[in-house]
């Protein structure tokens, strides 16, 4: 269950993770907020980072404008 499929649709767990990154957070904090296991958050973070839906600086993640509009479009 990759968090983004070939058509750009974000999975439910992917949306949870993106939503948790509305404010700057670490992946550990995302795991705590969402209740998802940390390994799954780390794996999903790689995907959404590569898709430029979030940005990362020193281990802190924040949703980008692209990520925010995707969340709004798919909510």
């Amino acid at each position: 269950m990759p968090c983004i499929d070939a058509s750009g649709q974000v999975s439910e767990s992917g949306k949870k993770i993106l939503a948790a990154m509305a404010n700057p957070v670490t992946l550990e904090e995302v795991a705590q907020q969402t209740g998802l296991p940390l390994y799954q958050v780390r794996s999903a973070a790689r995907e959404i980072l590569q898709a430029k839906l979030v940005e990362e600086k020193n281990g802190v993640y924040t949703v980008t404008a692209a990520g925010r509009s995707l969340l709004e479009a798919q909510s």
């Binding site: 269950m1 990759p2 296991p37 940390l38 390994y39 799954q40 794996s43 790689r46 995907e47």
Partner: protein, 218 residues
């Protein structure tokens, strides 16, 4: 182009106490790397094939102990030389037939990359299937224990839980655990390494049979 060259099998095995071999693999939960599990214990286990009876009993049993493992900060990760489509169909089938949801990811190791890294293929049994292997990897990615069972024999989940409890007890208290130890039993105090320490051990207040054999309650 077919060069006629045969795939060279790798029968090497990882070693206890060393970093577990790193990998990135396709799983039923997306692309996962070993490093994604840093900070938690991991049980990486292989099974011979999807849609087979012994493996089905094992998957049901692993799912049943998953809550107990979670309490101990342990994640599960399955593996076989099958596709993600096969894994997905099988876990759906298990849920339909046995009413058990499989909560952990399963590696689709079609190119045997992870199986070869961890020595999961026993050519005397099968060259195309992984045997029933269990690798216990600690939060620092160090390989702490390995269990290998043959294709015919399903694993004992209580022994896997016991092994986790024993390893975590060792880490927490700096002790060893005797044969058939279970949580609550007395543990082994590491033997003294000098004659002076051996003398002191006899007076240390442990349950001591001899200078090298001491037990204590936790």
């Amino acid at each position: 182009m077919d060069t006629g060259a045969q795939e060279k099998p790798n029968y090497g095995m990882p070693r206890l106490g060393l970093p577990a071999p790193a990998f990135e693999a396709e799983t039923t939960h997306g692309t996962i790397r070993l490093e994604d599990f840093k900070g938690s214990w991991l049980i990486l286990f292989s099974h011979p094939a999807d849609f087979t009876p012994v493996c089905t009993t094992e998957f049901v049993a692993f799912a049943e102990i998953a809550p107990e493992l979670k309490k101990r900060n342990v994640q599960l990760l399955g593996l076989s030389i099958d596709s993600t489509f096969s894994h997905i169909a099988w876990v759906r089938n298990i849920e339909q037939n046995f009413g058990v949801k499989i909560p952990f990811p399963i590696i689709a190791d079609l190119n045997k990359q992870v199986a070869n890294l961890y020595g999961m293929i026993m050519p005397g049994e099968s060259k195309t299937e992984t045997s029933r292997c269990v690798f216990v990897i600690d939060p620092n990615s160090i390989l702490r224990a390995m269990i290998y069972y043959p294709l015919t024999t399903g694993r004992n989940m209580q022994e896997i839980l016991r092994l986790i409890d024993a390893l975590q007890t060792t880490d927490k208290h700096g002790v060893a655990t005797p044969a058939n130890w279970r949580p609550g039993d007395k543990v082994i105090v590491p033997p003294p390494k000098t004659t002076e320490a051996a003398e002191e051990r006899m007076k240390a207040g442990y349950e001591t049979k001899d200078w090298y054999f001491s037990k204590k309650a936790l």
